[in-house]
């Protein structure tokens, strides 16, 4: 399921910097376009269940994905189309899941943002917020037991999820075990409609780090370069054995909680603040300024991405839906332990 969008670039550190920026930008762009496609399909009644977008959070998400190796572990959340693709999830996995194709990774059993491929290190979230962190801990813990060194596990979270008991238990567990966990918190100022002042009372979410004995890093989530640097650094530190790293990015979600939500509760003051800037536009400006790419190049990438997305959608739409008669109604892998009683 690996994909790469970076061509051979100039050598050396400057080259690597250019490459990671361009790679991340292209994932951001594709994620934005993919999300927009899903929003359109949703409005057209073509999608069952909720559609959750990452608009405004693509820089953070993409930076997380590109900072990982394909042998690492990644537990994205509902706003991580960019990070997923950067980690290697094919567009087709996303499209098939959202459109209910029987050929998607969840085969219609689970949907939309709940997709993943655990055996490729991409965990499909359960809905209960915070619950994926300890699962990633477990994978990292197992690799240590098995003597497989050097893996990092990244988990994405919203600031609202820091209020869950699961978050607390798992971050503490990672700290006690000194696991190479990178916890990326997107502080987008709201949990659904709930503003931060009803969610927590610390001055800054990075203040939580010290209470766990965990290094904490703040980053401007609208700034791709900053995200690449801070998350890249956190991943490197985790990989080098310095234990869990907490990254807190400040940003704003530039859309509703889901596509059913008009986000009218987001106050104008925040929208008009630096948090409300569009990371994708900022990234384009910055890439042009850095002379990493120009508008023509953006346009090419954009049309490439659109074509890819449209192809995936067209393909998924031709594919069969799951067939309830062919479906095995069995929750256990041990065949003969499944019971049909009560039906």
């Amino acid at each position: 399921m690996l994909q790469t969008v970076t061509g051979p670039g100039p050598v050396g550190q400057a080259g690597a910097l250019r490459e990671s920026h361009l790679a991340a930008y292209r994932f951001m762009l594709r994620a934005r376009l993919l999300d927009e496609k899903f929003a359109t399909l949703y409005r057209a009644g073509k999608i069952q269940g909720g559609v959750f977008l990452g608009r405004g959070q693509e820089a953070l998400s993409a930076a997380t994905g590109v900072s990982l190796k394909k042998t690492d572990v990644f537990a994205p959340l509902i706003r991580d189309a960019a990070g997923r693709m950067a980690f290697g999830e094919p567009i087709l996995d996303a499209v098939r899941t959202y459109l209910g194709s029987a050929l998607g990774p969840m085969r219609g059993r689970d949907g939309n943002v709940h997709r993943g491929r655990p055996q490729q290190g991409l965990l499909p979230m359960i809905s209960h917020l915070g619950a994926m962190i300890s699962v990633v801990n477990g994978i990292l813990f197992a690799r240590r037991l098995k003597g497989i060194p050097g893996s990092v596990g990244a988990v994405c979270l919203g600031e609202g999820a820091t209020s869950t008991g699961s978050f607390h238990e798992a971050l503490n567990q990672a700290a006690v075990e000194k696991l190479p966990l990178v916890l990326v918190v997107a502080n987008n100022q709201y949990a659904y409609s709930t503003p931060n002042d009803r969610q927590f009372a610390c001055a800054d979410l990075t203040d939580k780090g010290v209470g766990y004995g965990v290094a904490a890093h703040a980053v401007d989530g609208t700034d791709l370069s900053a995200c690449l640097e801070v998350i890249g650094g956190a991943v490197a530190r985790a990989r080098a054995g310095h234990g869990p790293q907490l990254v807190v990015a400040s940003l704003l979600r530039l859309c509703g909680h889901g596509e059913h939500d008009d986000a009218s509760y987001i106050v104008p003051k925040l929208k008009n603040s630096p948090l409300g800037r569009d990371c994708l536009k900022l990234a384009e400006e910055s890439l042009q300024q850095k002379q990493f790419a120009d508008a023509a190049q953006f346009a090419v990438w954009r049309s490439e991405a659109i074509r890819e997305i449209e192809e995936a959608v067209a393909q998924a739409q031709r594919e069969p839906a799951p067939d309830p008669y062919a479906e095995k109604w069995e929750a256990l892998s041990t065949e003969n332990f499944n019971e049909g009683q009560g039906e």
Partner: protein, 321 residues
């Protein structure tokens, strides 16, 4: 005027807030936003300081409600989805449910669980957990199936001195409508004959009531008269009404949307066979969801839960015996 099941729930809460200063509402996004399903729409504005947004902390949400109840309040807790009550589980089953028995101090909290399957919602936004809560002593578990019951039973729940798990079915929220809110209601703990018949009794509750009634209508075209019992409350469970119905029909089919093992349907059958064994002319049967998580895809979801069609098929089988 026409009022939905969801609006009835909102009205019951407005009514409770208006009439009883001890009532307050606490849950994620229930404040200015009015709740994920809008069950508390405008209530924060109408009752300032009494409808409060909670952090994403189900354990602490329920714990706070128990403390407030000890202090004489009547909190209503909204879980955003029933499925998320699993992280507030301990406070419900061990803190709230044991308080009265341990201390003789009652614990009048109402935990609203928007529950049950809807198309496309998948394994974690569709669960039916009534049997889980009913297994524990110390809880009242209500499952209103009608707009009228949604209203009157929620009002009753707030008035009950014990912790109530109020299972409101999301599938009924928008589509189910009534002309007006009731001024009278059956007491909590009484089942209702939703449709009279003499050939077979279907015992069910919540959204499955409509599958049962549709099945009964279909079977009526074949000449069968099916009686449908709406449990309303799964704990306490009105065994008397069920047994009386079985006495009339001689046949029992229990239908539930929850998983089969140890569900409401098993409990009903165990009671009827213990207390009304001689009344049965055929083996009691049950129909539940399949024993897997609730699937996301509409095709799978529709096959996972009992439907009018599968209910009718099961009833036909039983009528033939």
């Amino acid at each position: 005027m026409s009022i939905t099941y969801l609006e009835a729930i909102r009205e019951a809460q407005a009514h409770a807030l208006r009439d009883d200063p001890r009532v307050f509402i606490y849950g994620q996004d229930v404040g200015a936003f009015g709740g994920a399903f809008k069950a508390t729409k405008n209530l924060a504005k109408e009752y300032p300081g009494r409808v409060l947004d909670a952090p994403i902390s189900e354990d602490a949400i329920v714990g706070l409600a128990v403390g407030a109840a000890i202090e004489g309040m009547r909190p209503i807790i909204e879980m955003q989805f029933a499925d998320f009550s699993t992280v507030g589980f301990n406070q419900i089953v061990n803190q709230a449910a044991t308080l009265f028995w341990r201390t003789q101090v009652s614990c009048p909290i109402t935990v609203r669980l928007p529950f049950g399957g809807t198309s496309g919602s998948g394994p974690f936004h569709s669960q039916s957990l009534e049997a889980i809560y009913a297994h524990y002593p110390g809880l009242v578990v209500l499952t209103p199936a009608t707009v009228e019951d949604a209203y009157s039973m929620l009002l009753a729940a707030v008035a009950i001195d014990d912790p109530v798990v109020f299972c409101e079915h999301k599938l009924l929220y928008y589509h189910l409508k009534a002309d007006k809110l009731p001024s009278e209601a059956l007491p909590i703990g009484k089942a209702r004959i939703a449709r009279e018949g003499r050939d077979l009794t279907i015992v069910t509750y919540s959204a499955m009531l409509y599958e049962a009634i549709d099945a009964a209508k279909e079977l009526a075209t074949e000449g069968w008269e099916i009686e449908v019992v709406d449990l309303r409350s799964v704990k306490p469970l009105d065994t008397d009404t069920i047994v009386a119905s079985v006495a009339r029909t001689g046949r029992l089919l229990c239908v539930g949307e929850a998983w089969p093992w140890g569900g409401v349907t098993a409990e009903v059958i165990a009671r009827v066979t213990a207390e009304g064994y001689g009344l049965l002319d055929a083996p009691p049967q049950r129909l539940n969801a399949k024993d897997t998580p609730v699937p996301y895809h509409p095709n799978l979801w529709a096959a996972h839960r009992p439907t009018a069609r599968s209910v009718a098929a099961a009833a036909r089988n039983l009528l033939r015996q």
